[in-house]
Amino acid sequence: VLTLLLTGVSLGAVYALMALSLVFIFRATRLVNFAHGQIVSLGVFVFLQLALVQALPGIVAIVIAVVVVALAAVGIGLAVRRMEVAGGELVPLVSTFGLMLVVSSVIELRWGSGQPYVIPAPFGKDLVEVFGSAIPRQYLSSLAIAVLGTLAMALFLARTQIGLQIRAAADSVETSELLGVPTRQLRIVVWCVGTLAGLLAAFPYVNMVFLDTHALNTLMLKGFTAAALGGFRSFTAALIGGLSLGVLEVGLSRFTSGTIADLGSMAAIIAMLFIVPRGMFALRSDRD
């Protein structure tokens, strides 16, 4: 049981980090990027290409992948700003769907054959004993990465000057502009940080499962479901949503096939949405 719980929590922590990255971007920019998973996926495939095919050292490959994803995020951020000026909030939303198709077909064209790929785990994949139960090592490292990533994001938001400004801008753009917060530049920072947080969730995920052209789409769906639990607003709800998704999924997979466990866990979270339509932990300011 402990093994199941630990695997569930590790998987859930990664989902939670993914959900956090989505909530983070949404709260600051009021936009859900439906191409998030594909952009992140692109980063992972760039890493795969450089590290495994070109045999570059892992660190270099990771740095290049991070730069690629960051550039893509900045590009999206800039384009979104232009679009909002041109035609309101529906326009960037619809274009993220277009972008999603574009990036996913680029990935499919370039890396579509020869999948699924196996990404080597940096800390090995052997079993380790924790409190008397065996658990694959990559799950533990994933848990560590996800927890560290979440903490880093929380610290970034709570303790740094930029984090404070982002929170201020998320609450009221007008007021923070009056107080001299450079909201436009901040949005670019948000796009960058949020998308990179997604990338940080993606690496442990492909370590735990495998990498094919759809793997990260599944991860993003999980992130969406978890984020939806808090109405895309609440970080707490996204965390809880992600963790419970992971635990439910692993728990269910003991009794049925993996895909049904997948669907079942998502159905459970969505059922919650019907019970609490505004999302759990709805912010007081949201209630009108």
Binding site: L31, E89, S95, G98, S105, L221, F224, A227, F232
Partner: protein
Amino acid sequence: MPRLRGLDLSALVAFVVVAAAVAVVLTVSRSDQFVVFLVGLFATYALMAVGLNLVVGGVGEISVGHSGIAAIGAYCGLLTLPFGPAVALLVAVVAGLLGGALMGLPRIRVGGFGLAAFTFVIGQAIPTAIGQAPDLGGHFGRSVPLPRLFDAVVRGPYLAVAALVLLSIGLFVAWRIQRSMVGRAWSAVRENERMASALSINPHTQRILAFAVSGAFAGVGGLLLILHTQYVAPDLFSVALSIEMLAMVIVGGRGSTLGPVLGAGFFVLGEQFVPTREAQTLIFGAALALMVWFLPDGVLSAPSAIRAILRNKSRWWRRREAAS
């Protein structure tokens, strides 16, 4: 947005006349099988796009779950096909209605993106769930028999004609709805939800209604699609289909009833010039992203957009600079 509506009735009549002519030609002459197939496919996509437009252009929500509804319609129709095509059609309509209502059900209205995230998740969950049912062909799909009507097999040309007829009916229904009180209620919800509530229009109910009607279109479209391809697999109804439907609506113009038909026409023609499926989705995705940015009212608004740019060129540039 309602710029093109005055043209709609005459355009609608013209479309039905052309469709009837095409139908006669298809059945009387021995046309190329491939052309017949394309016409049928076009009518099928157009039907789904017209349905999606009831949501996008009607109540102003974005749905990327319509491929899931189409999958429900297709599989339910497939299961009842042995009882005759009429029964299957009816079942597809009802299944689509229910599936659509389900999509519109949640009251989540956070920020501007409304139900899009919900439809995104559900729309992908449905084909995955169907893939888990071995009786339905599982993940790899199964072949679809040609329907039989009065002991005769319904072949290619008749299938295409059926699709054209259904498209005409669908267009008529959509056109009538847009002009009824219901359609006006939807416009009110789209333009200003609070104002609609003040006029005792319940936005939630109207949204469910729009999704349900739109779902019926998608359900029938899904059934027609698998009858044309004579093959069904969950992958046929991936999120790419939803986004392509959205692209048809946006490219053709969400303001008018006939716009999505135009979009579907571009789509089916475009497919013939691009060899691989991946390249197709790439181009359609790019088309969607750019069109919604530069021509949010569809290709028919291109002349007026260009005129506006020429007239206000200096102002247009100044605005862009002010934005940056």
